[in-house]
């Protein structure tokens, strides 16, 4: 049995930054494993651990060679092997929209034939939140979006995932989803493990298979999306807040006065 988990290296922006052309100047970016994907990786590894059968956990990434560092983190936490999709045509694509990503991942699903696919709910950089569900529909799998609880016991054997989907306003929807399926995983669903030293060492020898479009039976048309980024700017600050100046003591003193005026702290 097999669980495929998609992982993405995302760019995180420093507090102060500059925009260069249509993106943030790379000097102000740091790269990390997408927060939602960390939980998806943990869920995948827990499913494998909970199963009596032999379960392989494979990760799939769309990203340049640099992203192998992120992929190694997933391998160190229990992913068995990884697939990394990239080539010059993908690099040249102006904006990888949902449909383009789905075409790439669809080819991986066809090759790997997993029983279950896990993705993060969204990526912290682009925030589209759509790839998992679109992928499920493309490959004819069932799906569940924004899963924040998953009973890991018996999912793969029974072919049914008992999940909670986190709705707005503190309400969970309880749903049964037939496998094969794609689940998009919400933060907080589990406690992602730290990579052990042994895991980090083992990760070095695990396979990260690079795949070009041609390896997946695709050509440059696969990444010819229909969305184009045309502008990027810092939103205008709308703040009309009263700011308190001075050192921390002075700021606290002024704030205390304002709070007391509002009746805070009065016995």
């Amino acid at each position: 049995m097999k669980v495929l988990v998609t992982v993405k290296e995302v760019a995180e922006v420093e507090d102060d930054f500059e925009i260069a052309d249509l993106d943030i100047d790379p000097r102000y970016l740091e790269y990390d494993l997408n927060e939602w994907d960390e939980y998806a990786v943990e869920a995948a590894v827990q499913l494998a651990e909970a199963s009596d059968e032999d379960v392989e956990v494979v990760s799939a990434t769309i990203g340049p060679e640099r992203s192998e560092e992120t992929v190694r983190m997933a391998l160190a936490k229990g992913v068995d092997r990884a697939v990394r999709i990239w080539d010059d045509d993908i690099e040249a694509a102006e904006f990888l929209d949902v449909a383009s990503k789905v075409r790439l991942l669809e080819a991986v699903v066809a090759e790997e034939d997993p029983d279950l696919v896990l993705t993060g709910v969204q990526a912290n950089d682009t925030g589209f939140g759509a790839t998992g569900v679109a992928l499920a529909d493309a490959v004819g799998f069932e799906w569940g979006a924004v899963v924040n609880h998953l009973d890991t016991e018996g999912v793969l054997e029974d072919g049914v995932a008992h999940v909670h989907r986190e709705l707005e306003g503190g309400i969970d929807e309880i749903t049964e989803i037939d496998l094969p399926a794609v689940l998009t995983i919400q933060t907080g669903i589990n406690e992602p493990r730290y990579a052990s030293l042994r895991g980090i060492r083992q990760a070095q020898s695990k396979e990260i298979a690079p795949k070009a479009l041609s390896d997946l039976g695709l050509d440059h048309e696969a990444v010819a999306g229909e969305l184009f980024l045309t502008d990027m700017y810092e939103p205008e600050a709308e703040s009309d807040a009263t700011y308190f100046d001075g050192d921390a003591g002075e700021q606290a003193s002024q704030l205390a006065t304002a709070l007391r005026e509002k009746g805070v702290g009065a016995e």
Binding site: A134, D137, E176
Partner: protein, 318 residues
């Protein structure tokens, strides 16, 4: 293709959700620009009641499909695709909600249309341009859609609503759901924000966010809450880390709170958090990033290190 817009309303547990009314506004604006009609789809639940509530100024036609009590993404995907085949609208709009994101991507895939999610602005000038945020709301972008037709989801809270009653034509949409393609079943709901304290009742909330860095540092903010006679709440990452229980979480997926005073400590102000506390009477923000979005909605701002400011504030009140 018609220049029409199809907006898919959302409801839950017998109520039309607010974002449905915002969809009517966004859909009307877009239909005015394309020169088409605004169609609203009402699928499942209390169809008659929902239809009455959604018959608002600007809605041309309401299509109803009576199927089950609650949202089911397999049913929604089938119905919206069938309606889109029948009406051939230029644009399909859905809410950027948990449920919207549970069917809109499948609809876009099945119809072979591009999808833009989480729109905070939509413009049409012979083509669709969507404004949306990236990098955790640090930047805004415009995205041009190079296609005649598209699916878009709109962020809740970005469009005004109208209560003006309309005169829409209501048509039951004759459609047989393929039950063999319904492979998921909603079996119930669970309130997860219960527990010992209801933060929605508090008059003063001291709320802690990711800036607190370590679990043991929560004690510092707890001490401040005690000194102020306030209740302790938090943003999502604190609950995700298991540092505070779920019933303390303020935000879209936690509690919506409207206290007299809301003090946000080390909270950057992600849109999901702001959705849960923007109705507070007075908002105080303490954050070391002067560009943190929380300052946009704050009445009082302290730009500084919370590990200096909070102890100094405790000293003022203890």
């Amino acid at each position: 293709m018609s220049p029409d817009v199809l907006a898919v309303a959302e409801h839950r547990r017998g109520d039309v959700r607010e974002v449905s009314y915002e969809l009517v506004t966004a859909g009307r604006e877009l239909a005015d620009a394309t020169g088409g009609d605004l169609h609203v789809a009402v699928i499942s639940g209390r169809i008659d009641e929902f239809t009455t509530r959604l018959d608002l100024e600007g809605v041309d036609r309401i299509h109803t499909v009576d199927h089950g009590e609650e949202f089911n993404h397999d049913v929604y995907t089938q119905v919206v695709c069938a309606l889109a085949d029948e009406l051939d609208p230029q644009y399909v709009l859905a809410p950027n909600s948990v449920n919207g994101l549970d069917y809109a991507p499948a609809v876009a895939n099945r119809l072979g249309l591009p999808l833009v999610t989480d729109a905070v602005g939509i413009e049409y000038d012979g083509g669709l341009t969507v404004t949306r945020e990236m990098y955790g709301s640090k930047v805004e972008t415009t995205v041009e859609v190079d296609a005649e037709r598209a699916v878009a989801t709109i962020r809740p809270g970005e469009w005004v609503t109208t209560e003006a009653i309309g005169d829409a034509e209501v048509t039951p949409f004759e459609f047989e759901v393929d039950e063999s393609a319904v492979n998921s079943e909603v079996t119930g709901f669970e309130e997860v924000a219960g527990g010992d304290v209801d933060i929605a009742d508090a008059e003063v909330l001291v709320s802690v966010g990711r800036g607190i860095e370590e679990e043991e540092n929560i004690k510092l903010v707890e001490r401040l809450a005690d000194a102020l006679g306030a209740t302790l709440s938090s943003s999502r990452p604190i609950v995700d880390n298991g540092w505070l229980p779920k019933n303390r979480q303020v935000g879209q997926s936690g509690k919506v709170v409207t206290p007299k005073v809301y003090i946000a400590i080390g909270i950057s102000g992600a849109v999901q958090h702001v959705a849960g506390m923007k109705g507070s009477e007075t908002i105080v923000a303490v954050n070391n990033d002067p560009n943190a979005p929380i300052f946009d909605i704050a009445d009082y701002g302290v730009v500084g290190d919370l590990f200096d400011v909070v102890p100094a504030l405790i000293e003022q009140f203890e």
